[in-house]
């Protein structure tokens, strides 16, 4: 579904990504793991079109996307749930969701999609009229995810959903991610909470210093000495 081949990317004059290749198949949860500053955000920004790669190619749903503007890519069915939620804090829950359905195709069916999102996150329905900034951390994450679903995406990129959440809430979030997959949404999950991520994912890539240093199914990764030492603190 998403295929990234040997891309390189720079911030200013510093090269951040070095020959990164990555593949997401339909119906999978693919985990992208890496420490702070490993280049995960840069990779995502490149995929979503905020940053131009200098070489390499990216295809999504069989279409080249490396030179497309962010809003065009999102119209193709890719949704990015950004790190730190990035909600429109001065707008209501409902308006945040509506903005998620901004692409023209999604806007027409926004009422039904919204009902669907409320089914997944019943708590959002209760708080429909509240301003986004008055929500708790967990609710905000749910709103961010709900907003991401409003465009009826085929691929959902979820960036650090557990960031700053209490453990119980984290579990809930991960459960929801699994249920999304069950509804047929492909997911690229970027996380620091390595253990949980690997438990729910199908495959994983490990990004270090802008390079993919390991890829494979999650059991292998969990068993790897490198992962244990570097990320699990064992």
């Amino acid at each position: 579904m998403l295929e990234i081949n040997n891309i390189n990317a720079f911030y200013g004059r510093i090269q951040i990504l070095w020959d990164v290749s990555l593949k997401v198949n339909e119906g999978e949860i693919v985990a992208l793991i890496g420490a702070n500053g490993a280049g995960k955000s840069t990779l995502i920004n490149t995929v979503t079109g905020l940053l131009r790669s200098t070489s390499g190619s990216m295809t999504f749903m069989g279409k080249r996307i490396d030179r497309l503007a962010p809003h065009v890519i999102s119209e193709l069915g890719m949704s990015h749930i950004p790190e730190g939620r990035k909600l429109f804090t001065e707008m209501s829950v409902r308006e945040n969701l509506e903005l998620g359905a901004y692409p023209k195709s999604a806007w027409k069916t926004k009422k039904e999609t919204q009902e669907h999102v409320y089914e997944i996150f019943p708590r959002l329905k209760e708080r429909e009229k509240q301003l986004a900034r008055t929500l708790s951390g967990g609710e905000q994450q749910m709103l961010a995810m709900g907003r991401g679903l409003m465009s009826k995406p085929k691929l959902c990129i979820i960036d650090e959903p557990s960031n700053g959440l209490a453990p119980l809430v984290v579990l809930e979030v991960f459960k929801i991610i699994q249920s999304l997959r069950d509804q047929g949404i492909t997911i690229l999950l970027i996380e620091q909470n390595v253990r949980h991520t690997l438990e729910i994912s199908d495959r994983a890539y490990v990004l270090e210093n802008g390079r993919i240093v390991m890829e494979g199914d999650c059991a292998t990764c969990l068993a790897s000495e490198h992962i244990k030492k570097a990320y699990l603190g064992l």
Partner: protein, 287 residues
């Protein structure tokens, strides 16, 4: 009591026009991040188009249908050609803001010069609904009443547009966080150009209404720009409702001070302005 009625109602009657100008600037400055020094020039152009059409027998209020869309188009094209290019070339927001301020200055010079060449600098006026209406025992200009009604209607229509429509929501989202709005699939360059265009259109509409009420000159623009900057600061940068309310507040303050000492009316705007910046730079509606 008479005095209070006069101050409050009189203030509201000027405030409507202030609101309209300021909402326009708020869109250009709060969302598109262009401190448009030429804002008042669009107003002046709107006023003179009305004057010119009126001289040729067109009802001034009908000009709203022509002037608004025309200036919207001008603003939209200006943003797409000049300011988008400045934005894309600037390494950060600070550089974009200062460069677009300078470009707006250039625009100010250009528009002003063209207007002087076409219309000269003699003050102009025409008579429209020039009679008075008695409200609560006090006389008020009928044309002010009509202008304020139109200003409020235009303001309310625009507010509904922002609240209810897809593009309106995108504009509000872009005002808060343009990057994330982009993530939602909003074409930021288009939305910002739209904002600039709407800003110009509102200035133009305010110009139409001003020409109905007051004498006009080709050099009046800058004064209104300064008032708009004060109101936008008063209401909070980027807050459209803030600018709307701020306009009325400034109108009332201005009228009140005029009753007491007209020579200090303008000074009082600046006093409010700099005190507000010191005490509450986010404005009355900012958080």
């Amino acid at each position: 009591m008479d005095l209070i009625i006069n101050i409050v109602l009189g203030g509201l009657l000027i405030g409507g026009i202030y609101s309209l100008i300021s909402m326009g600037l708020s869109l250009q400055y709060g969302v598109a991040k262009v401190l448009n020094i030429a804002h008042g020039e669009f107003l002046m152009v709107g006023a003179f188009i009305t004057y010119w059409l009126q001289q040729n027998g067109v009802d001034p209020l009908l000009t709203i249908v022509v002037g608004g869309p025309l200036l919207f188009l001008v603003g939209f094209i200006l943003y797409r050609t000049v300011f988008t290019s400045i934005r894309l070339k600037a390494p950060n927001t600070g550089v974009y803001e200062s460069n677009s301020l300078l470009a707006a200055f250039g625009l100010y010079f250009i528009v002003q010069n063209i207007a002087v060449l076409i219309w000269g600098t003699t003050p102009q006026r025409f008579s429209y609904l020039a009679s008075s209406v008695t409200i609560l025992g006090e006389d008020f200009n009928e044309n002010r009443l009509v202008a304020t009604a139109f200003a409020v209607a235009i303001g309310a229509a625009f507010y509904l547009f922002l609240e209810r429509t897809r593009i309106g929501k995108a504009i509000r989202a872009a005002a808060q966080d343009p990057l994330t709005a982009g993530l939602m699939g909003v074409d930021i360059n288009f939305v910002l150009a739209l904002c600039f265009g709407f800003g110009a259109a509102m200035a133009g509409l305010a110009g139409v209404l001003i020409s109905i009420c007051y004498p006009i000159t080709t050099t009046m623009g800058l004064g209104y720009t300064v008032i708009a900057i004060v109101v936008v600061t008063l209401g909070g940068l980027g807050s459209i409702p803030g600018s709307f309310i701020g306009g009325f507040i400034l109108g009332i303050i201005g009228t009140g001070v005029t009753y007491w000492e007209p020579g200090l009316a303008v000074a009082s705007y600046y006093v409010i302005f700099i005190i507000l910046l010191l005490v509450r730079p986010k404005g009355i509606m900012g958080k």
